[in-house]
């Protein structure tokens, strides 16, 4: 046990943890998007879904605690990797270029720290807006529930929110564009014959996630909250 803990603190261990927490967050955002798409289901489908989630009680708290832990550990690891790289090359190059070819140095991979920190800051506002936001209480099948759907729609009628969220979701796409493939490589799943495939799947996944998430605020904003999909 002691040796395993020590191993996880090593360079290799830290990278494996970055990958595991990254995959954990990926699984979370997939379920999050599927949940969000309930907005386009039956009139009360979204509120039913959030009500069901909140009714999970302690199970939800355990899940949320795990999520917070994964987020913080992931952010800590990402920031510490970036911090250490600054110490590993005190004097930089006056000219530096990628050699291309098999290199995965892209805008996405070079800005993981920036897109990551934006996501972290975004998360604070996001929780404040929705998780702890004020909602009307409605009656759903004989029980009281929060009208989160109305809160979401009202929020995204504000252009600041609609376009702010859109911008952050594009950055999430970039984070995933390198992150998806990178996580597999960190978890030592790299095999030459599959590597290119995983990279391509990662890009497609990143685009799907970004488009999926940003479609919601933009749709609400441009239909004035009255879109056919929303009622």
């Amino acid at each position: 046990m002691a040796s395993l803990l020590k191993a996880l603190k090593s360079q290799v261990g830290r990278k494996i943890l970055t990958g595991i927490t990254g995959i954990g967050l990926i699984i979370f955002i997939i379920t999050h998007l599927l949940g969000n798409l309930q907005l386009f289901g039956d009139a009360q489908a979204f509120n039913e879904y959030t009500y069901a989630l909140e009714s999970l009680g302690w199970i939800l708290y355990v899940l949320e605690a795990g999520l917070v832990f994964a987020f913080l550990l992931h952010a800590y690891l990402g920031i510490s990797i970036w911090w250490k790289r600054r110490k590993a090359r005190p004097e930089g190059y006056s000219k530096y270029q990628s050699k291309g070819g098999p290199s995965h140095q892209t805008w996405a991979s070079k800005s993981m720290i920036v897109t990551g920190i934006v996501l972290l800051v975004f998360l604070v506002f996001h929780l404040d807006t929705f998780k702890f936001g004020a909602t009307e209480t409605i009656m759903l099948n004989g029980h009281e529930a929060r009208d989160l759907k109305a809160l979401v729609i009202n929020t995204f009628l504000n252009p600041l929110y609609a376009f702010g969220y859109t911008a952050v979701m594009i950055l999430l796409g970039f984070h995933l564009g390198h992150g998806f493939w990178s996580a597999f490589t960190s978890l030592s799943m790299k095999h030459n014959q599959y590597s290119a495939l995983i990279y391509t799947v990662g890009i497609i996944f990143a685009v799907l996630m970004a488009v999926g998430f940003l479609f919601i605020p933009l749709y609400i904003y441009f239909t004035g909250g009255q879109g056919a999909l929303l009622v």
């Binding site: 040796s3 395993l4 020590k6 191993a7 996880l8 090593s10 360079q11 290799v12 261990g13 830290r14 990278k15 494996i16 990797i81 250490k84 790289r85 110490k87 590993a88 090359r89 005190p90 004097e91 930089g92 190059y93 006056s94 000219k95 530096y96 270029q97 990628s98 050699k99 291309g100 070819g101 098999p102 290199s103 995965h104 140095q105 991979s109 070079k110 993981m112 390198h178 493939w181 990178s182 490589t185 960190s186 978890l187 030592s188 799943m189 790299k190 095999h191 030459n192 590597s195």
Partner: protein, 255 residues
């Protein structure tokens, strides 16, 4: 006779370790397309010596045929210059044309301190090898070694990783100055052979730890190392290193 042309150089000059360095401009008017990059620097040094105003530029080399790993240089921002799977000594001036400006810098990393000008101390690599890059069984002369049957594909892959010449370009090009490709290549070479099996766990842990101790950065999977490696070592070596490391730690090997 090949035609001669002119190039402008910006060469990193640094008196010694821990001294400030700077890029110094030179112009060479008698560059020949058949010269290697190092021969071009020889010509520069002849010019500097003839002028007698400063010391010649120090740079590393030995074999000049792409097999020893001594030559280094970051040329216009790329370790070993613009060509894939090519060492600096194998780069020819026909890749440049009249009037080009070429920036020449040393491999930069905290773990590779500059000794003078373009020469850096790469002994950190030696120390990584010292802690585990060996086999302890008696391999004997060639016939003895062949008495252990090794699958052809295993032998071939081990050989591919063994082609690492320890040049350090992977570190130089890595945005994080990580030595994962070098260390991974040494491990992937020895760990897959029966002769390397007895120390597999110990070796993996020791070499990974030494790599960190030397002050190399973490790996962020940029794969820039594979792009600059003159031997085309695949980053699969890094994935394999991670797997072997975690296996060893889970098996309770002393970390």
């Amino acid at each position: 006779m090949a035609e001669e042309f002119s190039i402008h150089l910006k060469v990193w000059r640094q008196e010694g370790p821990d001294q400030p360095g700077k890029l110094v401009d030179y112009t060479l008017n008698n560059v020949n397309e058949h010269m290697s990059f190092l021969e071009m620097l020889d010509v520069l040094n002849e010019q500097i010596v003839a002028e007698g105003k400063e010391d010649p530029v120090e740079f590393d080399y030995d074999c000049r045929e792409g097999i020893c790993g001594s030559c280094n240089l970051v040329i216009n921002g790329r370790a070993h210059g613009p060509k894939a799977m090519t060492c600096t000594c194998q780069l020819h001036m026909r890749n440049y044309s009249d009037g080009d400006t070429i920036v020449v810098e040393p491999f930069r990393a905290k773990a590779f301190p500059v000794i003078k000008d373009l020469v850096v101390d790469r002994s950190a690599f030696d120390r990584i090898v010292e802690v585990g890059g060996y086999v302890s069984i008696k391999t004997g002369s060639a016939p003895d070694a062949n008495s252990i049957p090794i699958d052809k594909s295993v032998a071939d892959t081990a050989f591919d990783y063994a082609t690492c010449i320890g040049c350090g370009a992977c570190v130089a090009a890595c945005p994080n100055s990580s030595a994962s490709l070098f260390t991974g290549a040494k491990l992937a070479h020895l760990n897959r052979l029966p002769q390397g099996e007895p120390e597999r766990k110990k070796r993996t842990i020791a070499m990974v730890e030494q790599m960190e101790e030397e002050g190399f950065g973490d790996c962020s999977n940029y794969a820039e190392c594979e792009a600059v490696c003159p031997k085309g070592i695949s980053i699969s070596a890094i994935a394999e290193m991670r797997r072997n490391y975690m296996k060893a730690a889970l098996a309770g090997e002393e970390v």
